[in-house]
Amino acid sequence: MSAAPRPRVAALALAVGLVLADSSIVVLALPEIYRELDTSVSGVSWVLVSFNLVMALAAVPAAHLARRVGPGRTAAVGLAVFAGAGLACAASTQLSTLLAARCVQALGGAAAVTAVLELLPATVGSERRAAALWATAGALGGLLTELVSWQSIFLLQVPLALAAAVPILAVARHEAATGIISTELRRTGRPHVLANLALAMVSAAIAAALFLLVLLLIEGWRLSPIVAAIVVSAMPACALLGARLGETVPSARARAAAGTILVSGGLGGLALLPKATVALTLPPQALVGVGLALVLSALTETALGGRSPQAIHGGWTISSRHAGVVIGILAVTPIFTHDIAQQRSDAIDAGTAVVLDSRVSPLTKLDLAGRIESRLNEEKGKVPTIGPAFEPLPEDEGERAAVVQLREELQDQLNRGATHAFSPSFGIAALIGLLALAPIGLARKEQVPL
């Protein structure tokens, strides 16, 4: 099999990375979209859910289309649709139009990525390398972060998708000119059900981890989106380490099980954060990052290994991964939106107790109570930063010290509420991740290679 030109290999990798990393990039824009489009957390979660749902439903039909029409043409058209819909996403001023554009974008993405998978073995040289490239592309894509606004994320996708499409056009032209498509029209084997099932469960846990962590950092702890992006990039950074570690262990089953345990352990750590401090999110993120690289590559290799055609089985794994993302987000969103309202109320009660019992003079206390109440109303249902309510500080030194202590105690109660609100959801995500051990274990019993 002749080696493909380097630009084409890079384009294929870029196309895969761009589509599969979409959710991990777009998730960083959710809090800004939430504010700008004046929607709810449940509403904004559909920016991810809609894309992943359409990807899950369209991946296998798109793979069949790629085999029938030709992967080059399908990938080129898919990338063009993905880019065009990205522009529509950026231009959206309402949630409904954004969601519609996301659905179209997912259709283009499904066509592009499944078709590219059909080209990957021919261009990269082996199915194993193709699968490994695909598995790590998503993690690399996660390093891309938002720069200016949520629209910029979608705008950035446009030139990248078009750049990926250009070298693939040569394949499309060849298909059109010769009528020969590069796939072998052989009978499609059965998909690896257990590997795909495990992949869905692990993807659900990972998606929930990223979605919840971004919301915790931005909405709970009030970090800026840029800082949150830097913090959550610990996960893909550790995924690179995990990919290296995975290369030293040939057993896919061991990597899958170890990765699943690490992902669930990391989520367990996030469910049990003992303080509202960014540093404490890093060890759990490291476990999730290393774990996801191990388990995703192991399960993807297993689902694709020895199976042909690549596009169809790749379609099944893409469908499983994205269905998992949908399940993960839909499972945790109602739980944590309920919990955040409850914890806000508990935090305000605890804060009121702090104010009532503080050593601040009664008149200062009354003044502060009014300002704190206004601050809470300004933040409308969110966990607020209470600091501004305490400005200016009293001039009297003793009173100032008492007010500063009150401010810290009050903010501590609010931080506790914001952090605790996410704990049950992280815990549920950890349990969903652990469930993936069942299909991995069943595969062993049934002597299915995993």
Binding site: L245, T248, V249, P250, S251, R253, A254, R255, A257, A258, G259, I261, L262, S264, G265, G266, G268, G269, A271, L272, L273, P274, K275, L280, P283, P284, L287, G291, L294, Q343, D346, A347, I348, D349, A350, G351, T352, A353, V354, L356, D357, S361, P362, L363, K365, L366, A369, G370, E373, Q413, R416, G417, T419, H420
Partner: protein
């Protein structure tokens, strides 16, 4: 190292890493990192030793809040938030299906409990406590509603109630 051994090490290492992380976070208090629970208002609360009329009035108001909250079956904190403004009181009344009269009766009961608490703590002489109780029992509902209009009013009214007896009070202050 054989491939099988590497697989075992990876699996064992993952289990240990996950357990250590969860164990360390649990030991550091991760399971209890949540907002502090509010205290049952029906249980007696430690009475501070306030100095000066303003602080006595504040302590008195806190105790009255406890008493009223206990009577209404809500937390002291929920009632304090409700008394912060007329709008907040309205929301509170709607949420707990309470009439102004019910709230006023609870506040009057709370004020009486505050006298009991102050007397028990030795902050109020029985010579003052008796007449003060009579005064509070005589507050009509309208006055009590006015009293609970907002926290500032509550504090001011308590000061007002205690005010006429200020000289006498200060003579009996510990």
């Amino acid at each position: 190292m054989s491939a099988a051994r590497r697989a075992q090490v990876l699996l064992g290492g993952s289990i240990v890493a996950a357990l250590v992380l969860v164990g360390v976070y649990l030991a550091a208090g991760g399971a209890s990192y949540a907002p502090a629970k509010t205290q049952d208002p029906c249980k007696a609360r430690a009475w501070r030793s306030p100095e000066g009329l303003a602080q006595i009035a504040e302590q008195f108001s806190l105790s009255a809040l406890d008493g009223a909250a206990c009577k209404l079956g809500v937390s002291r904190e929920a009632l304090a938030q409700a008394l912060a403004s007329p709008e907040a009181r309205e929301r509170f009344a709607q949420r707990y299906h309470l009439s102004d009269a019910q709230i006023a009766r609870a506040v009057r009961a709370g004020l009486l409990r505050a006298v009991d608490d102050a007397e028990r703590a030795g902050s109020l002489s029985p010579l003052i406590a008796g007449p003060l109780r009579e005064t509070l029992r005589g507050i009509d509902l309208e006055e009590a509603i006015e009293l609970i209009d907002d926290a500032e009013s509550l504090l001011g009214k308590v000061e007002g109630i205690l005010g006429p007896a200020q000289e006498l009070l200060e003579g009996f202050l510990p």
